[in-house]
Subunit: 401 residues, 2 copies
């Protein structure tokens, strides 16, 4: 009937990128639950369950814990514009693309942004943050827990310490770490923490969980000006998600259904089990990559486990390698961008994607395709090294999906 | 395995509200197409098709025609903040909730908002807009094509005329009208037009089509300040949807798949056929409601056909009627809010929901439930009156879904 626009028929890809991650069939199934209205009291029940499960996965009692109706980038924006007003000073720890985005958004509010930088591929030194804060009235310190653009992991505690010293809110981008690595919003005393649904939660892209603690709520309640965005204004969005149920906007109902199922799967697996699984597969992947003779971007102490950044071997055009993996194996991995464009590969093992089969497949495929482009690794070295890690992990009764 | 959070099991509702509308099973099916990456060149192909079909349904050649990753309210925001800067003057035609929202968003940018008002339930007089514009430098005139909060339809031409006289951009909220009533962005010379996916397109909620014409693009290119929102900044969002393919944010891939299928269904039906279908079912519904002795809010000349607003009969608590319809018949209709709270019912017949079965069902159910609350209509009068309209519509070979 429609020759011009035939039915969707995309290839079936295995996405091992920094997101979107692979989704479990149960999540797809939940997404086709026939929608009900956003003001239907039965939908309110679903909203409450989603909020409770989000609090569980974020390890927080924060009342204001909701999925925003936008991508992780919408959450970056919400986390800046709700807590900063024109003239406020914010320190942003910048060593990658997503920290840059945080700084960019903060600038657009009219805040004074103090950038504390490190080269891409290294963490930002907390001592430098301390020095930058000295003598200043700092409203918030923004940092990225796992910077997917570089594969760098930054532990929260030292930045929290600086925030305590200068009385600033600590805002943490946990887009690529929530549900994949240990994160405890209340114990880590994070004032504002946000994530995306399409990373370690393995829910569909299009939503962004955010949680705001008591100090953050206080800042919200004392604002002198209105939040620059109406759509992302937490002071009103929360009235729809909270007791009032005041209509704000129509949320993406099917995505909320998918998120509900994804969160149930986190509950079933258990958060510790999920963290352990992500760690195991990352260890196996790194062992395999190093077994092939490849070099990681990050030193072990600051290496993300949900997104592994690898230096592209000299003389290899990484974009061609990725394109061949995509076309011949339906396997998608990512390259670098910004300062690292053309220089690195990035492999994501997140949520449902953090699975032994995917580790073995990406190692085997990478060996084959890199070999075709002239990079020679000992035959099977990657898979063998990975399997050695799995063999040593016998304490895990089953290496789960 | 998870006693606390059982599997989703919402009731199967028939939503005849101002949105979200009912979705066709084909759209649900498309939503479970396994996702592919947002930077996968095969996804770019899907994006191109979606954009082409959006141009067709909006009747425009505008290059900048994209679905925003947010609800219709995000599009209201995008349509204001991208074209207004601090100090600009905007006229907003305010006679309902969504026009209020437009004014609110424009205010947050720091624009001077000139409100031209009418009581809720009436259109805004274009002559008053003309008078308000006199002697002012007006950057844009914002109006709502179909104001779902009141059921009022405002034809575009007279406002376009005023915008021409004062050299302002015309911004049209077509959230509840696109694909339901005649709308031709190029012929109507709308500079910025936006909609939602969950209304007459019958696609999942969570996206918002927007199109920007040459004059709008020129305003964008001449901005002195950055757009206040990074997430909704069309100057950069369009680089992802356009030739550059520059990563901006991860879009809601499953929703785009659903939208793709919904747009294919519009193409198959044909836009004129779809407009005619919406008109027929609205006529049948109004005939039925009037046959029951109910009174419409809007005079015929300004009555929306996709959302019909009905005065609640004296002495009837509309909220109780709606709750009983929901609980006993799984049928959801809406009430009023703002100035019309408690005073009206609103019935949406949009997209897949604009269907003879739904018209007959809502009439029969409303007669029954209103009767239980003491409003007596002649037995079967609503259904009989509606069927009379259908009988007269024999030129429509089949009364399609």
């Amino acid at each position: 009937m429609n020759a011009t626009f035939p039915e969707l028929n995309p290839p079936v890809r295995i996405m091992l990128t920094p997101g979107p991650s692979l989704m479990h069939p149960r999540v797809y199934r939940a997404m086709v639950t026939p929608i009900i209205g956003h003001l239907d009291y039965r939908f309110m029940g679903v909203m409450d369950e989603v909020q409770t499960m989000l609090r569980n996965v974020m390890r927080t009692k924060n009342k204001l814990t909701i999925p925003l109706s936008g991508s992780g980038s919408a959450a970056i924006e919400a986390a800046m514009i709700n807590f900063l007003e024109e003239g406020d000073a914010a320190i942003i720890c910048v060593a990658g693309h997503f920290a840059e985005r945080m700084a960019e958004v903060a600038t657009r509010v009219g805040a004074t942004v103090i950038r504390v930088e490190a080269p891409w591929g290294q963490p930002v030194d907390p001592q430098k943050v301390r020095e930058a804060a000295r003598g200043q009235k700092i409203k918030l310190i923004g940092m990225v827990h796992g910077e997917t653009s570089t594969g760098i992991f930054q532990p929260i505690a030292p930045y929290r310490e600086v925030a305590d010293e200068c009385g600033a809110l600590l805002v943490v981008d946990a887009v690529a770490t929530l549900a994949g690595v240990p994160l405890d919003v209340d114990q880590d005393r994070i004032d504002v923490c946000f994530s995306g649904t399409q990373k370690c939660l393995s829910a569909p892209p299009g939503m962004a969980p955010i949680t705001v603690g008591p100090r953050g709520e206080e800042v919200l309640s004392r604002r002198k000006s209105k939040v620059s965005s109406w759509y992302l204004d937490l002071t009103i969005v929360q009235k729809y998600w909270g007791k009032d149920r005041t209509y704000h906007h129509t949320p993406p109902i099917s995505l909320i259904f998918g998120l509900h199922e994804a969160l149930r799967m986190v509950e079933e697996e258990g958060l510790e089990g999920r963290w352990q699984r992500h760690k195991l597969h990352a260890q196996a992947l790194v062992a395999g990559l190093e077994g092939m003779g490849l070099e990681m971007v990050a030193a072990p102490a600051h290496r993300m486990i949900t997104v592994i950044a690898i230096k592209a071997p000299a003389g290899i055009e990484e974009v061609k390698v990725r394109r061949r993996m995509l076309d011949e194996h339906n396997l998608e991995i990512a390259g670098g961008f910004g300062q690292l464009a053309g220089k690195i590969f990035r492999i994501g093992l997140m949520g449902y994607g953090a699975h032994r089969n995917n580790v073995l497949l990406v190692l085997a495929t990478l060996e084959k395709v890199l070999g075709e482009f002239g990079f020679r690794a000992p035959a099977g070295a990657g898979v063998v090294a990975a399997e050695r890690v799995y063999a040593g992990a016998h304490e895990l009764a089953d290496v789960r999906t």
